[in-house]
């Protein structure tokens, strides 16, 4: 199949792995930022092809995983209201709040609907003028344009029974938080290709210079990731710290300007709390005052205040690349996809879910430990 098979070719993969071995002279630690990349790495076994000197750490790029517990609890509170139709991307439905999840609220009678696009939620609002339709707007820069478009359209069409519960997060501030941490282990980054499709990659240039780390904008197929690792290691071995673009078939330096304009029209940068990590300045998007009428947190009188996170879950450390999933004592025992302690165990982009699904065998854990 075009655009798929050529990026999964075993011969080419071996070729890249061999080239990588030739240029690697010492240990390097790279972080892939996006959870989609983490899953591709673990699912296809990309890390098994890397020389032993190279360690991949899994970054914070799982939107579901970093959504704070109190926002999920607010979502649950909203979804349980009889006047509300609560709409969400599928991946959010199984993520636990402090007590339950959206699928359980649905089972208990809440009107929770999975949508594929926030614009579908606007349509649901048009079809149900006597109900309140709330869309759970989570995600990074990738989903922000579509969510902005939903609010923009709702206002243009006069759909007043539509609102967003916003938990948008931004990648560069999270990377800067990781870089400025005293516990920093990362020598270079594979930047998330899809985020850069929207925002471009000029924002990484000052970070590369200030912290002297290479960034390689990387795609999601096995060969993309191998090539991204190769480019990052080559920079490190040559003592360079630049922003390079591996994913040039989708990403341009300036990104998608109309999408950026739409996001800027609807959203503004705000501080945002990240689950397991804490508040990061300038790291989120919230609705601008002109669109405040579409903010579910303003529209509804919500009882949920700040919520404590599970003390046993180490997802914050996993999301910052400080621990690997199987280093958690609860991994696979007290924390499973059926009984998750944190979101990283249930999300399609969560590192713990990837390890649980693809690596839960005695050999693989031993192999990991050897790395």
């Amino acid at each position: 199949m075009r655009f798929i098979d050529e990026y999964r070719d075993p011969e080419a993969a071996r070729h890249f792995a061999e080239a990588l071995r030739r240029i690697t002279t010492r240990p390097w630690t790279l972080m892939e930022v996006c959870g989609g990349q983490t899953h591709a790495i673990v699912k296809f076994g990309v890390d098994d092809l890397l020389p032993p000197e190279i360690t991949l750490l899994h970054g914070p790029g799982c939107p579901v995983c970093v959504t704070p517990v109190e926002l999920i609890d607010r979502a649950l509170e909203l979804a349980a209201r009889p006047e509300v139709i609560f709409t969400s991307f599928g991946d959010m439905l199984r993520v636990p709040g402090s007590g339950t999840d959206l699928l359980s609220v649905k089972a208990a009678g809440g009107d929770v609907r999975m949508v594929y696009s926030p614009l579908d939620a606007v349509k649901i609002a048009q079809k149900n003028p006597d109900r309140q339709v709330v869309f759970f707007a989570v995600g990074f820069e990738t989903t922000a344009p579509a969510n902005a478009m939903a609010v923009y359209q709702a206002r243009r069409l006069g759909v007043e029974n539509f609102s967003l519960l916003v938990s948008h997060v931004l990648v560069p501030p999270a990377i800067e938080a990781i870089l400025s941490s005293p516990e920093r282990r990362v020598d270079g980054f594979l930047a998330a290709g899809h985020v850069c499709t929207v925002v471009g990659f000029s924002e990484y240039e000052p970070l590369a210079t200030r912290y002297q780390v290479p960034f390689v904008v990387t795609g999601f197929e096995p060969l993309d990731i191998l090539q991204g690792v190769y480019m990052a290691v080559k920079q490190l071995e040559e003592g360079r710290a630049e922003v390079e673009n591996q994913y040039s078939r989708a990403v341009q330096r300036q990104g998608n300007l109309p999408a950026q304009q739409l996001v800027a029209e609807v959203f503004e940068v705000v501080p945002r709390k990240w689950r397991g990590i804490g508040e990061i300045a300038h790291s989120g998007l919230g609705l601008r005052p002109e669109y405040a009428a579409y903010d579910a947190e303003r529209r509804f009188d919500l009882a949920t205040g700040p919520v404590d996170e599970s003390s046993e879950c180490i997802s914050g450390l996993v999301l910052q690349g400080l621990k690997k999933p199987h280093e958690c004592p609860a991994f696979g025992t007290r924390c499973t996809p059926e009984q998750p302690l944190g979101a990283t165990m249930v999300s399609n982009e969560g590192a713990c879910a990837a390890y649980y699904r693809y690596r839960r065998t005695p050999q693989s854990v031993t192999q990991e430990d050897a790395n």
Binding site: T142, Y356, Y358
Partner: protein, 351 residues
């Protein structure tokens, strides 16, 4: 298919355009529904004896007996409908026991208000599917529930088949060295249903693979293939079927991802939605574990007789292993990983 029928509904639509509670109430309306719509459609003992159950002679030997309930939404989807599915599913379960399916029961739970025309289309589809699969509907039941307490129509079918050979077809018969052969391409049913349910539009039209597997299995048996185990792939997809067998047989199954056939349009849809075709539902595909010496003949038979059989392939082998009960996969780039059962339905990803 349900759309092909030419007869018109025998219940006068002008009087009862929708199913009402009384159609399940045991009185005149229910009698009419059975006498005028259901009994004439199926004929045989159901029409002739008017008994509380079907009675028939069976040949000596082993029988297989199974039941399944069908609650699919939408009721009609590309490539099938709830009626044909209710026949195929039960016929396939009997086939997986190595049985020749003979008789099915058919029970409807109908929601008040269902258009009579819809019921008629479903009944006709059941009839066509039963004819195609070579089985008879011999007994049945009709209940009507209040509006809002059903989802249009639910169907239960139970089936009886005869086992006319001495093979012991059972997951516990699977042993190291056996090969796993997949009868066709996977994922069509799940994607067809999802696309219809969610209004997703793709460039090409993906139809369900819902089909009876009885003929293909009977051919394998007639050819003397040393079958260890058969399993049809349903909701949990290929992965769940393999894991269930590996666990029951205490063996390690190694799957070669590149040998599993997935049509390009299904693959594309899965890529867009973030779904793994190995976990997507099927209704007309099965996996056969056979003696390795019979692999080529099995493939030949499946290619001729199995629905979608042109893509039949050896997709895995059973390894001698110290950690049995698991399935591993050799990925497209040649690395081996674990295959796990999902805790629930696959949910599309965010970005």
């Amino acid at each position: 298919m349900a759309d092909d029928f030419t007869l018109t509904c025998p219940i006068p639509i002008s009087r009862y355009p929708h199913v009402v509670m009384a159609h399940g109430g045991g009185g005149k309306l229910m009698h009419d529904l059975i006498e005028r719509m259901i009994a004439p459609t199926f004929g045989g003992p159901l029409a002739e004896s008017r008994h509380d159950g079907a009675m028939f002679h069976m040949e000596n030997g082993r029988l297989a007996f199974t039941t399944d309930s069908y609650v699919v939404q939408p009721l009609f989807f590309p490539g099938g409908d709830i009626g044909s599915m209710a026949v195929h599913g039960t016929v396939n379960d009997l086939s997986m026991c190595g049985a020749r399916p003979l008789y099915l029961s058919l029970a409807f739970i109908i929601e008040e208000g269902l258009p009579m025309e819809t019921l008629w289309r479903v009944v006709q589809s059941v009839r066509q599917a039963a004819d195609n699969a070579g089985v008879q509907i011999v007994t049945g039941d009709t209940k009507v529930v209040d509006r809002g307490k059903g989802d249009g129509i639910f169907i239960n079918t139970a089936g009886i088949g005869v086992i006319e050979h001495d093979l012991n077809i059972d997951p516990r018969q699977v042993r190291p060295g056996d090969v796993a052969i997949l009868s066709g391409d996977i994922g069509r049913h799940g994607i067809a249903i999802m696309a219809t349910r969610e209004g997703l539009e793709f460039e090409s039209h993906i139809e369900s693979d819902s089909a009876p597997l009885a003929a293909a299995v009977q051919q394998l048996i007639a050819a003397g293939i040393r079958i260890r185990c058969l399993r049809d792939l349903t909701r949990g997809g290929l992965s769940s079927a393999l894991i269930e067998i590996a666990e029951a047989a205490h063996v390690h199954v190694r799957l070669d991802e590149t040998r599993v056939s997935v049509r390009d349009d299904v693959r594309g849809a899965c890529e867009i939605l973030g779904l793994d075709p190995l976990y997507v539902a099927n209704e007309g595909r099965f996996i056969a574990f056979v003696d390795p010496a019979d692999a080529d003949r099995t493939l030949e038979i499946l290619r001729q007789h199995a629905p979608g059989g042109e893509s039949a392939a050896v997709i895995g082998t059973v390894l001698p292993d110290e950690t049995p009960g698991r399935v591993t996969l050799r990925s497209a780039i040649g690395v081996t990983r674990n295959v796990d059962m999902l805790s629930g339905e696959q949910l599309p990803r965010i970005c």
